[in-house]
Every structure is written in C-alpha cells, then in structure tokens.
Amino acid sequence: MDKDGAVYSVELENVTKIFDESTVAMKNVSLKVKKGEFFSILGPSGCGKTTTLRIIGGFETPNEGTVRIDGRRVNNLPPNRRPVNMVFQNYALFPHLSVFENIAFPLRLKKMTESEIREKVEYMVELVKLKGQERKFPRQLSGGQKQRVALARALVNEPRVLLLDEPLSSLDAKLRQYMLMELDRIHDEVGITFIYVTHDQAEAMSVSDEIAVMNNGVIEQVGTPPEIYESPANTFVAGFIGETNFFVGKVVDVSSEYLKVETRFGILTCYKDKEAKIGDTVEFMIRPEKVYVTKNYPPQNMNFLRGKVDQLIYLGSHTKYYIMVENTLIRSIKQHTRYWMDESTISWDDEVYVWWNPDDSYLIKVTGG
C-alpha cells in the first residue's frame, strides 16, 4: 500500500465490451492487478485480451462495469489523461521524428524546458540501451531497436502502469527471448506495474508474477505461473498452457487421498484434488514430463498403460515420445540428464510401458453422477 491507499494498480469490475450484436469482446471481466506486478493476459487470438488492454488504456469505453487505476474510477477519462502508457504491437513510432524526438514527444507536449527534456531522454536512452542511436529515424532501426524506442517513449512520461500489446510478436525467436529478459530488467528498474498481453504461453510464464488466462471474452483463471500450469481451473487452461494428457471416467472407489477411476484404458488412480463420490464423472490430467516410458515393468502403485512408440522427437535437451495406447496418443517428455548413448534405448515401434505416479496427476473437473 502506498500514500494514496490503494493496493491495486488496475481494477476491472464486471467489465463488458460489445462491439456489435455479434462480437462480444469481454463478458463480465473482473481483474485486480497489484502495484508493481508484472501481470500477463494470455489467450488465443480474438479472446478479448487486446480489448482488455485498450479499455485500461482508454482507447475503448466499456459498455458496462468500472475501470479503476490507482483506486480512481477512470471510465470517462481519455487516454491522454490517464496515468498509463502503452507499447503498441507495431510500435507506432512516428516515422518523421528521430529516435530522440520520438522519445521527447510526450515531454514536448508537456512544454518542458529543453534541458529537462535532454536529461529525461538521455536517462531513457541509457535505460533501454540505445546510446548513439538518438539521431536515427525509425526506418533505419532494426525490429529490436524499434522495440526499445517504443518502450522508452512509453516510459519517459513516468506512467503508473505500462501496457504492452504483444510487443515481441514481430521479432525472431532468439531476439524475443533476449528482449523478454530486457523487459524483465527494465520492470525491475522502474518498479511500476506492467500489464503484458500475449498469446505465447512461454513468454507469459517466464516473466510474469501473475497470469490471467482469457478465452472467448472471459477470464478462465488468474494465478501465478506454477498455479496455472500445475492446477489449471479447467480443460481450456490445461490444454492452452503446455501439452497435456487428459483422462475422463467414472469414480469407482474413493479413499482418503485417491480416486479409482474407470476410464477407457481401464482403472486408473488419480490424486483427490477435489471432493468426489462414487459414480461421479471426473476429468484429470497428467503432464508429459511426469510420464515415464520404459521397457521394464513399472514400480509398484504406479498408473501404467501398455503401448507402442508412434513417434519420437529428439530435441537435444529432451525427447518427446508419442505412445499409441488404444488409438490414443499419450505424450511423454524425457529430460536428458546423461550423455545420450548411456541413456535412451527406446525406438520407433517398440512395445513399452507408459507410467506415472498418481500423486502427479491433477483432478480438473468433477461432475455429479
């Protein structure tokens, strides 16, 4: 909590945004973003994440609901009067202005003196590591440099919240990884709230304090990266974040910690993350990195299936196995911790055991039967 008493930097309360009868971009969205957080909004394209960002920025007005920034209702404030700044997906740099003038743009609007402007712009140029590029024009810059200019321009006004709309989507994979680390560093240095919109789960996972997963205009889950990955709120979140194996079945036995579930693969045991009774239909999942593939008979008390290696993809640090069991592919990832010749003997078409510890599964959904 700081001097104005608000805990949350940005709050959305039951915000609904309808573009026309057919397009509902946001349905009753509520969000609370804590001060200083690196908060991501993650979802497939068209899920309403950019609209959410534009509503916070003031470029769209909600049809219903309240938007608060630092505890103050801002529904009717235009973008130029909100203490937030935005980094646009295509950077939106002004092509007729140099790097220096692009960054100085908001300061000149405020009619600051030349020496103040120089000082602030120089600090920003230093922060985003653009020293020596000040006189260049946007068309002379690489994608990563444009990104840095856009970032500096959005930060120079000292906003309370920085909004980032898929800022890395037009960079190549290596540069994206590097810029992501840069973003994280800049976030630590300026200490303000970052709200980051992306469709890339790896990006969101690697830098966020919290992630909101959005789909079809609805927030499916808000949580820390491990919460979202390990205990997804529903099938959509489980499927969207990383790869996973789903199982559906009827509960046939309940103990204090485990459920026995009758699935199309036979009876499997899963950890009782939620209350369930005999006869309920349940859905649970097991992440591929927790699934083992061996030729030997698995240890005791493990869930196991028998199948045939359908596909294996060697990726250096790990190998992905796709095992065909009863016409369904079960995914497994093996992390290589030894020199490869000493390790793997499994190959295409091998008959194998696929097994996992029931403790590692997660019960997503229980439907009363």
Binding site: P78, N80, F88, N90, H96, F105, L109
Partner: protein, 274 residues
C-alpha cells in the same frame, strides 16, 4: 545506340511527338508576327512579349492566380475531413466510387448543371422565392465567386484522391499512440498525421492548382466580364483576334510561371523534411 536505349525508344517517340514538338512550335510561333488574316509570318520578333510586359494583362494574370489559389485552398479544406472520413469508414470502396462517379458525366454538362442550379431562374432562386426569403432572384452566376465555386466542385476529386490514398496507408495506431502520450485528438492529427500525409497533400495541391490556372470553360460559362482568366484571353486571341503569335506568347508565360511555381513549391516541400 546502346542496347538498353531500345527500350526507352517508344517513350522517346511519344514525348517528342506529343510534347516536345508542340511545345517547340508554340515557342517558335510566339517569336513571330501575325498576318491580318490570322497566319504567322517572319521575321522573328520579341514584340509579343514586349506587349505582354506593358502590363495590360496584369489584372487578368493576378485574377487567374487568386482564383486558382483560393479554389485550391477551399478544395484542400474540404478534402481533409472528407478523406479522413473515407479512410476510416467501413464503406471505403463505396465512398471512393461516389467520388469518382461524377467523372462519368461530361465536364461541360456538369458546368451547365451548375447554371441550372444557380441561375436567375435556377433551382436555388426558385426555392428562395417560394419560401419568401427573397422577392427577386439573386444573381449568383457570372462573377468570380461562381467561377471559384465551380472550380472547387470540378477539381475536388483530384484533391480527395491523393489525400485519401495517403491517409489510407497511414497507420492510425499512431494517433492512438500520440493520444496515449498526452496529445489531444486534434494535436495528434496535426503533429503525427499531417507530416505523414504531406506527400498526398502536395500532390493534391498540384493536381488542383495547375489545371485551375489554365481554366477556360468554367470562367467562359459561369464567369462574367470581370472574371476573365488567362485561359479565356488566350482562347480569345486565337479565335476572335486571330493573333496566334500573341496567344502562344501568353501560353508560354503561363507555362513558365506554372513550372516555376511547381519547382519552388517542391523545393520548399523538400527542404523542410529531412
């Protein structure tokens, strides 16, 4: 002849036939004298230019310039909001079509349409009399203002099209960005959009101002005695006075001053950029 010259041959022939040769003829003719029956004759003389420099036509030249400049300014003022609306509209292509459709009707017929609209017995006067706003018809036509109105009407699409095409390419998220950084919408448009569509505005100004300088039919049909423009004077010298050398000298003056204005304008446009 180098090999690649062959490819430029057609355009070379085209330019000589339809540009260089006619222009040379007018230049040569302007230094000759006229015969009583409208022919041209030697010896070469600078008399036609001396006659022009004596200044009798200065009033006409001045009028030609201000009518053209004012018309250009008005078309620009109208085109900016119209193009903005078109470029941001859902029905871009429909609006573009609507801008071009008037071209399908003959130019002269469109001028006559204005005579029917604004004439003493025209629609506007009839309405005003019917409504009892005026007793006697107002003379809208046959003055320089009528000429300006019809020039603006005629050349408006030539201004709209280049500005629209520049705006259509403009990345409107830059306006969002400018507003996000503290600018009002109006300031965002002036500080970010205008510099980006400068090329379109320049083209539009040239497309309107230059043909307006050479106006002939419009002042002839809707102008009065005191709205004669240079084009009318040239036509009169050719047809009625049958003084071709004098007429060609006038048209050369028009040509050179237009070229000079164009050159200066592009020079100024070029230098304030980077």
């Amino acid at each position: 002849m180098k090999r690649h010259d062959i490819y430029t041959l057609p355009i070379l022939i085209w330019l000589s036939l339809f540009f260089t040769i006619p222009l040379s003829i007018t230049v040569i003719m302007s230094f000759m004298s006229s015969t009583p029956y409208g022919g041209v004759t030697l010896p070469f003389t600078v008399g036609n230019y001396v006659e022009i420099m004596k200044g009798r036509i200065l009033a006409i030249l001045w009028r030609t310039i201000w009518i053209s400049a004012l018309s250009t300014l008005i078309t620009l003022g109208l085109s900016l909001p119209v193009s903005f609306f078109m470029a941001t509209s859902k029905w871009k292509n429909l609006l573009l079509m609507a801008t071009i459709i008037p071209f399908w009707t003959n130019f002269i017929i469109r001028i006559f349409a204005w005579i029917f609209l604004l004439g003493n017995n025209g629609m506007l006067n009839n309405i005003l009399i019917q409504l009892g706003i005026v007793k006697n018809p107002i003379t809208f036509l046959y003055n320089s203002w009528a000429v300006v109105v019809v020039i603006v009407y005629t050349y408006l699409p030539y201004m709209i099209l280049p500005i629209y095409s520049a705006m259509e390419k403009f990345d409107f998220s830059m306006i969002d960005a400018a507003m996000d950084l503290g600018a009002t919408k109006i300031r965002a448009i002036f500080k970010v959009m205008f510099p980006s569509i400068k090329g379109g505005i320049t083209a539009g100004i040239l497309f309107v101002f230059i043909p307006a300088l050479g106006s002939y039919a419009i002042p002839e049909l809707v102008g009065g005695r005191d709205s004669v423009m240079l084009g009318n004077l040239i036509a009169w010298e050719i047809t009625t006075a049958r003084n071709w050398p004098y007429a060609t000298a006038l048209s050369n003056i028009l040509f050179v001053s237009t070229a000079l204005a164009l050159f200066l304008y592009l020079k100024i446009q070029g230098s304030d950029g980077k």
